[in-house]
């Protein structure tokens, strides 16, 4: 019988502890609720996990906005477009958030974004780079550059710096991001005088790329552009070396997560890609404050962590300038972001909600990401109208 008393006592205690919590939340509008939807599981979980860590750390650095405490509400979009739409619906309708950060990848942001747009809730994506994410949208913004810039710079780098002329592509057809990047690379590489000798396709989640690589090898290219996500890049590079395809490989910002090296080990050595951020090149005051503190807590600072934090800081800054938590006012303030010195660089939100900022070229060397060069957007600042990709 004693046992039963104990159980009852525990239940009552549990009830008592859990009661005040919802009462708290209702009683005060003293908090600002910011929704977050990110891929915490599934194919690109590493991005979401990194960004979430970054966002939380950014909140620790700046816990209040307009004198109110910030409350973050995270929903996992499971690296899936349908789940992303569900996540945003939940954040808007059930959680009644004032603004949303997310998602990591273009496809998911494009699935969730329009729902927030309709509800008039501003969205800031940390790393969705496809132009279509913000095109024609009033409430959707991002703190990263867009793919036309990235694809053009990769093509230029391959043609001018590496002096390559025969490129092969592996395109993940399931991702708007990869299709877009490959498209901009192809356009610019052929414009410069290069030739695309092989175009092969895959699907997110594929593990086996031997068929594509054997087909590419038969065409004898001298550079491989593979703007896919880290898992696919790592696995494909391993299989490329297994099958004797030893040519330089270029990729996009989707490669920049430590999971790439964890999975690819020695096989990803030499991979080059266009990225958002590299520690050596980060020199804004915020970067100098954020990076050491972050490394003290988590060891290593990842790109997606930084981009998540930047999204938080840009949003916080906008809410403060708006002096309100009204969707329309936050939106206006976000659209007016000028020369914001974030961690990943200085950004100005331009036409169509895109951040205009520089990119870095990064190489994997000695089992780590190494800074190679910075490319400024001057002169190549993306003009969304002109650079819009053709929709596949």
């Amino acid at each position: 019988m004693k046992m039963r008393h104990l159980v009852v006592a525990l239940l009552v205690l549990g009830l008592a502890v859990s009661m005040p919590a919802p009462a708290f939340a209702q009683a005060k509008s003293e908090t600002i609720k910011i929704g977050v939807f990110l891929p915490m599981t599934g194919g690109v979980a590493a991005y979401g996990q990194g960004s979430w860590q970054g966002i939380q750390f950014a909140r620790e650095m700046k816990p209040t906005i307009l004198g109110k405490k910030v409350e973050l509400v995270l929903v996992d979009d499971k690296s899936d477009k349908i789940e992303a739409a569900n996540a945003v619906t939940r954040l808007v309708e059930k959680e009644k958030v004032v603004a949303i950060i997310g998602s990591s990848i273009s496809g998911n942001t494009m699935a969730g974004g329009p729902i927030a747009e309709k509800a008039g809730v501003p969205v800031v994506s940390p790393t969705a780079t496809n132009p279509l994410v913000t095109q024609g949208k009033k409430y959707i913004f991002r703190v990263c550059f867009i793919d036309p810039f990235q694809g053009e710079m990769a093509a230029k780098y391959a043609y001018e710096t590496l002096k390559k002329r025969r490129a092969a592509l592996i395109i993940d057809k399931a991702q708007d991001y990869c299709v877009g990047l490959a498209d901009f690379f192809e356009k610019n590489f052929t414009k410069l005088g290069g030739q695309i000798v092989a175009k092969t396709y895959c699907q997110t989640g594929d593990k086996d790329f031997t068929a594509q690589i054997s087909a590419i090898k038969a065409k004898n290219p001298d550079v491989l552009y593979m703007p896919n996500y880290y898992t696919e890049v790592a696995l494909a590079m391993k299989q490329a070396k297994d099958l004797g395809l030893n040519i330089p490989v270029l990729s996009g910002d989707g490669a920049q997560d430590k999971a790439l090296i964890d999975i690819g080990k020695q096989y990803v050595e030499g991979l080059m890609f266009t990225g958002h951020f590299e520690k050596e090149a980060a020199n804004t005051p915020l970067a100098k404050k954020f990076i050491p503190a972050y490394e003290k807590k988590y060891g290593k600072v990842g790109t997606f962590d930084v981009m998540g934090a930047d999204a938080y800081f840009v949003l916080a800054d906008a809410i403060e300038r708006a002096k309100s938590t009204e969707g329309a006012k936050i939106r206006a303030a976000l659209a007016n972001t000028k020369n914001f010195k974030g961690i990943s660089g200085t950004m100005t939100i331009g036409e169509d909600g895109n951040a205009i900022k520089s990119l870095v070229i990064v190489q994997v060397r000695g089992g780590d990401f190494r800074y190679v060069a910075t490319v400024e957007p001057a002169g190549v600042a993306p003009e969304p109208k002109k650079a819009a990709p053709k929709k596949k």
Partner: protein, 312 residues
Amino acid sequence: MERSPLFCKRDRPGTGLVELTFFLQQMINGVALGSLYGLIAIGYTMVYGIIRLINFAHGDVMMMGCYFAYFGILMFSLPWWASFVIAMALTAVLGVMMDKGAYVPVRNAPRISALITAIGVSFLLENLGLVVFGGRPKGFPTPEMFSEVYEVAGLMFPALVVWTPLLTLLILSAVLFIIYRTKTGRAMRCISHDMETTRLMGVDVNRIISITFAVGSAAAAAGGIMWAMRYPEINPLMGIIPGFKAFVAAVLGGIGNITGAMLGGLLLGVAEIMLVALMPELAGFRDAVAFGLLILILLFRPTGLMGTKLPD
């Protein structure tokens, strides 16, 4: 840049050495992938053959096997072979626990209950994996010996491409030996024929079924480890696709038929690779190939390639 003569030859639809090398290399790729499917399908079909349970959790058991091996190597710094053997043993124990915990209570219930239970176990393992191991993928350490590459006449043979079919054959023979040459195996075959009568004959049916799960799960772990060495990325949801493919391979070969499962796996692997190789535009449909084959086989030869008429 000038086109090399080699390239021109390949470009013309036709023949030549390059075409042949290309084709053979793709065959090698296909066999490598297919033998992995086959290896995973062996355990799948074995459990079905004996207790008529489509164990949808098989792919997730495979995933657990990979994590056991991963932790064995990285956390306890065991030599790879020891950690593989221990992983197989632990996975066998997991299989037995799964049977005792989930399937024994529904053993006499209608078959659909067992099927639903299997789906439940699958979700349980996946989400348990997410909670315990985290959603972030991990790189699987491949031993030196399995990362070499041999080149013969322009054809590339990564070591695993050689080892996987060998291991598949080894496990296939071991399973066949157990089933056809041991007393336990005879009991298994009896159970598959008529569980009730077997029980009346004094056979400890539950023990035999436990052994079936142990062997099937150990085979899944072996398949999973080979999978993880070839595609060195492990995450808690990694078992879903191989699980489906193994299911298709098992049905292709005639579900319940162990040799058939291996052949079904090979066929599936080669078909997938050839789709991507010959029709690159359709690469996104490689999973559809599996299900397309499944539909075709169910339409035209429902008992599978090597299947005999199913008892009702």
